[in-house]
């Protein structure tokens, strides 16, 4: 590549209308930084999103940006990736989008293990519709817009992702952009479905899981007089979610799910689980259509110079021939 791509190559000049202090800004920067680090040309990237504040992400990134329907970003993204497996495909979606209205697609996508990277903006509320409870809000909590405490239990995005078949499952924190950037890079480089749950404080509607709360500002270490952050990096404590041999998979999955229930005083971020031994959907297709990766659907030549079809169905038609 002749010219080195800089962060500016991944930015658009649109006015960004997220609330000041929104965690979304950190995620947006992390995505742009990851793409710049990996030097993937903008036209080779497609970012898909659903509905909600997170849904606007593609408009702020100078790559193909597809802002889809509520809860449906995954099937759109998968369709694009399977039609052109050379694309780098990212999904940016909210917790309500992916685990509420779109949860059927979320689970089903895991079964396929298509080579995509899904970044979940996880803030416990439906921000754009004024703060209703989202599927990741714990029961009994009452962020300021709720008239009554949340009546539903929360889902565990990490555990669902692992049990659904995602082969790279991680959690990041929107205010630790550098760490998040590295997770996104690892997700993109992973050959299979990568899921990154991002703790993303909503400064307007979630007055419980705030930046201050994640940062532990309510609990000052008497010795150092500094806050004791709730968020910590698992890798710093020797946690290793990598499946190095297929025989380890069950054990690693169990450990990751156990880890995913850690919440409250200590909230782990980093890679919970990665299994590179499960074939991607693209590899599964290739086992049936040997030329798939070289001659994928979007690449096939379907007509000749006279605009006549190139497909030849005579052999197949013979199955039906009578006379």
């Amino acid at each position: 590549m002749a010219v080195k791509l800089s962060l500016a190559n991944y930015r658009t000049d649109l006015h960004n209308d997220w609330c000041p202090g929104c965690g979304d800004f950190g995620i947006l920067s992390a995505i742009q930084m990851a793409l710049a680090d990996l030097q993937i040309e903008p036209h080779r990237v497609a970012v898909f999103s659903g509905i909600g504040c997170s849904g606007k992400t593609p408009h702020y990134i100078n790559t193909y940006g597809i802002h889809t329907l509520h809860g449906r970003a995954l099937p759109y993204a998968i369709g694009a990736k399977l039609a052109n497996p050379e694309l780098t495909v990212l999904i940016a979606g909210g917790d309500g989008d992916g685990l509420g209205i779109g949860v059927g697609h979320f689970v089903s996508a895991g079964r396929r293990n298509v080579d995509i990277t899904y970044v979940l903006y996880d803030n416990g509320v439906y921000g754009l519709t004024k703060g209703q409870a989202s599927p990741t809000l714990q029961r009994g909590l009452k962020p300021k817009s709720l008239p009554k405490p949340n009546i539903n239990d929360a889902v565990n995005p990490i555990a669902i992702a692992i049990c659904s078949g995602y082969t790279f499952v991680a959690r990041g924190y929107a205010y630790d952009t550098k760490h998040l950037k590295e997770l996104i890079k690892k997700g993109i480089q992973h050959k299979g479905s990568a899921f990154i749950d991002v703790l993303q404080p909503c400064p307007t509607y979630n007055d419980i899981a705030t930046k201050e709360w994640f940062g532990g500002e309510d609990r000052i270490d008497p010795a150092t007089k500094k806050p004791i952050p709730r968020v910590y990096k698992m890798e710093d404590e020797g946690y290793d979610g990598e499946v190095r041999d297929p025989s380890e998979a069950a054990e690693k999955i169990q450990a990751a799910i156990m880890k995913s229930f850690e919440w409250g005083d200590r909230i782990p971020i980093g890679v919970f689980y990665r299994n590179p031994h499960i074939p991607s959907y693209e590899e599964r297709i290739s086992s049936r259509i040997p030329e798939y990766l070289e001659n994928y659907p979007a690449k096939q030549v379907i007509m000749d110079a006279n605009n006549h079809p190139t497909a030849r169905i005579e052999d197949i038609l013979n199955e039906f021939r009578i006379l």
Partner: protein
């Protein structure tokens, strides 16, 4: 009037080989030289419920089934009880004499209301309540009876072949019923053997066993009933290639030719067969001749691929994923489609709107079945038409094209993709159960003159022309379209209103221009698509009676028209194929010439008649409708068209078919 059609029927419990038997019969009869049309009727059930297959044979093209049955082939009680009534005088019933003592009330799969009706009729005849009593009624009506002692013949066959259990052999009664039919119709035994081999091509042993059973049956029939059956005539020698194909396979083949390389689906009757067929044929030859290749950036690589094309078929988690995934693939530049039926299409409405909003060429193949809700899952109806035209909230363009028969379905499948890419909008290809599950003899699908029109598709944007705008305002309202991955072609999509780049806007003047751009594409389509592609005229156009219709009613309408023309009652028939944009101007000119306009369609409310009035102000004089889940038969339209002319009744409802 001489006999020009033979109507044959076979029935039995689902899972006992009714389909295989009908396929063998159809194929064998077609290879004798007959034109064939076959219709399958079945319950939403895996095993046990009654299914039947009607087949019409003729020496000229057959387009429809008829109510009258000339020869009824049975190997169970229920088929006799249900269908013996449909057999015409001098017609025949093939049956198992061992079953005649069975009481009708003991057949669990006949609905109570049907049993009551049949018992009432038997009572009127002064008869009892057994299968034999039903046969007695047929006999009184002059129907000829052909009892076959299936089990005796099979026992002898078992002895002859050695070592075979009677329970294994008993599975062949379906083929024996076909063989008996072949003897009565005096058709070539070798063609029957060939067809048996073809249908059981994966199981040579079973094929051979069935051929032996067929031979024994034919020998028995010749000895017992030589020359007895009168409804028969010789097939004429065919001088062209002929194919026997069903609707879902024809559409699948059309998609391959069209260049569809990505198909999604969620299992649903009767649409799934198309996707399963495509998946079964996911790799197929393409002609990658360097000299004739279009200007394609991937030409060189493609040439190395030994001429192999392929289609990726994905079974999705639901129909929402089916349409959105296909749309994603279309964004990446593949010709993409999904196939579904009414309930699935309901789920697709939001995705359809997104594709309309973002001008994505995606094709939805919709096989209508009986609605509403789950409705009649395995039965026929044409009640989704208005929904296809108006599905989705807000206003966005879409084209709706309806095929009249299996042959049209092949070519229309190709056309659907051309429309989609030319007008950058979703296209709904409207079919129905009657096309999906019927089989028909057709000539060779000739696609040598088919042209693929990719519209304003570009795979590269020259930055010298300025920044690329996906939704650039143009004179014909259609913008140059890049695809995901195209260099310099980056664009944005959103379901929100957007500017030319595809970024969200709520600015009112841009909103107005974008609405006009999107909806204006329909006007472009209306201007560009020739009338000949939109309306097909049949029959005697100088007649005072004009039939207007759409979809698979074409077959029985044409056959009924042909029947009446022999007695001097002529009809003209406008078959409307493009339902949106509606050929309003053309019909506004054409229809006022006629004294009487009769609409024919298979729904309760006369949806086409409503659409016609909405788009042209023209009100039909008589509406023939049917909504009992069974397609119009030729006989039914023969009678009701005449009735419409004679009585000028504004609405005629018909309901034949079991």
């Amino acid at each position: 009037m001489g006999l020009d059609k033979i109507s044959w029927m076979i029935g039995g419990a689902q899972g006992t080989g009714v389909d295989s038997a009908a396929n063998i019969f159809s194929r064998a009869a077609a290879s004798c030289g007959f034109y064939v049309f076959g219709k399958r009727e079945y319950y939403s059930n895996i095993k046990g419920e009654h299914s039947y297959f009607s087949v019409v044979l003729s020496n000229s093209k057959v387009r429809s089934v008829m109510d009258e049955v000339h020869l009824l082939a049975t190997f169970d009680s229920e088929t006799v009880v249900r269908h013996a009534w449909e057999v015409v005088p001098e017609g025949g019933i093939i049956y198992d004499p061992k079953l005649t003592s069975e009481k009708i009330t003991n057949i669990p799969t006949i609905e109570k209301v049907v049993k009551a009706r049949i018992l009432e009729q038997l009572k009127k005849e002064g008869l009892g309540e057994t299968v034999g009593d039903v046969i007695e009624v047929a006999k009184r009506n002059g129907v000829r009876l052909y009892p076959i002692p299936y089990m005796d013949l099979l026992r002898r066959l078992g002895d002859r072949l050695g070592g075979l259990q009677l329970s294994t052999l008993a599975r062949m009664t379906n083929v024996m019923a076909v063989a008996a039919s072949f003897t009565l119709l005096d058709l070539d035994e070798n063609k029957l053997h060939d067809a048996i081999r073809h249908i059981f091509k994966a199981k040579a042993k079973i094929a051979n066993m069935n051929i032996e059973a067929a031979k024994d049956t034919m020998e028995y029939m010749r000895e017992s009933f030589a020359g007895d059956f009168t409804y028969k005539f010789k097939p004429m020698e065919a001088d062209e290639e002929r194919y026997l194909i069903n609707g879902t396979s024809a559409v699948a083949l059309g998609k391959m030719v069209a260049g569809c390389r990505f198909q999604t689906y969620y299992p649903i009757t009767p649409a799934s067969d198309e996707s399963v067929y495509l998946e079964d044929h996911e790799v197929f030859p393409v002609e990658a001749d360097a000299a004739t290749l279009a200007d394609n950036p991937h030409q060189a690589e493609s040439e190395e691929l030994n001429g192999r094309g392929s289609i990726v078929v994905v079974q999705t988690e639901d129909e929402i994923a089916a349409i959105t995934m296909a749309t994603g693939a279309a964004l990446a530049g593949a010709r993409a489609s999904t196939a579904t039926s009414g309930p699935g299409f309901s789920l697709m409405a939001e995705g359809l709107g997104w594709a309309g909003m973002n001008e994505v060429p995606v094709v939805v193949t919709l096989y209508q079945r009986g609605g509403p809700s789950t409705g009649l899952p395995t039965r026929h109806e044409q009640a989704d038409m208005l929904f296809t035209i108006f599905a989705g909230h807000g206003e966005f363009p879409r084209l709706v094209i309806a095929s009249g028969d299996i042959e049209e379905a092949f070519y229309d499948a190709i056309k659907a993709f051309n429309y989609a890419e030319r007008y950058q909008t979703p296209v709904i290809h409207l079919l129905d159960k009657n096309i999906a599950n019927s089989t028909m003899t057709v000539g060779k699908f000739d696609y040598s003159n088919v042209v693929i029109d990719r519209g304003k598709l570009i795979t590269y944007w020259n930055p010298d022309n300025g920044e690329y705008k996906r939704f650039l305002f143009t004179d014909d309202n259609i913008s140059p379209r890049t695809v995901l991955g195209a260099p310099n072609g980056v664009f944005w999509n959103t379901g929100d209103e957007h500017d030319e780049f595809g970024h969200i806007t709520e600015e009112p003047t841009t909103r107005v221009r974008m609405m006009e751009k999107r909806m204006g594409k329909l006007e472009t389509a209306d201007r560009e698509i020739p009338d000949s592609e939109r309306v097909i005229l049949h029959g005697n156009l100088d007649s005072p009676y004009m039939i207007v219709s759409w979809g698979s009613t074409k077959g029985p309408i044409l056959v009924a028209m042909e029947y009446h023309s022999r007695t001097g009652l002529n009809f003209a028939f406008a078959q409307v194929k493009l339902l949106n944009p509606f050929p309003a101007k053309f019909l506004e000119h054409l229809l006022p010439r006629y004294r009487m306009i009769i609409s024919v369609e298979q729904n309760y409310s006369g949806q086409f008649a409503q659409l016609l009035r909405m788009r042209t102000g023209i009100k039909v004089d008589s509406m023939i409708v049917k909504y009992n889940g069974r397609p119009f038969s030729f006989s039914e339209l023969r009678d009701t068209l005449k009735k419409a002319v004679e009585t000028k009744q504004p609405k005629i409802v018909t309901s034949t078919g079991a």
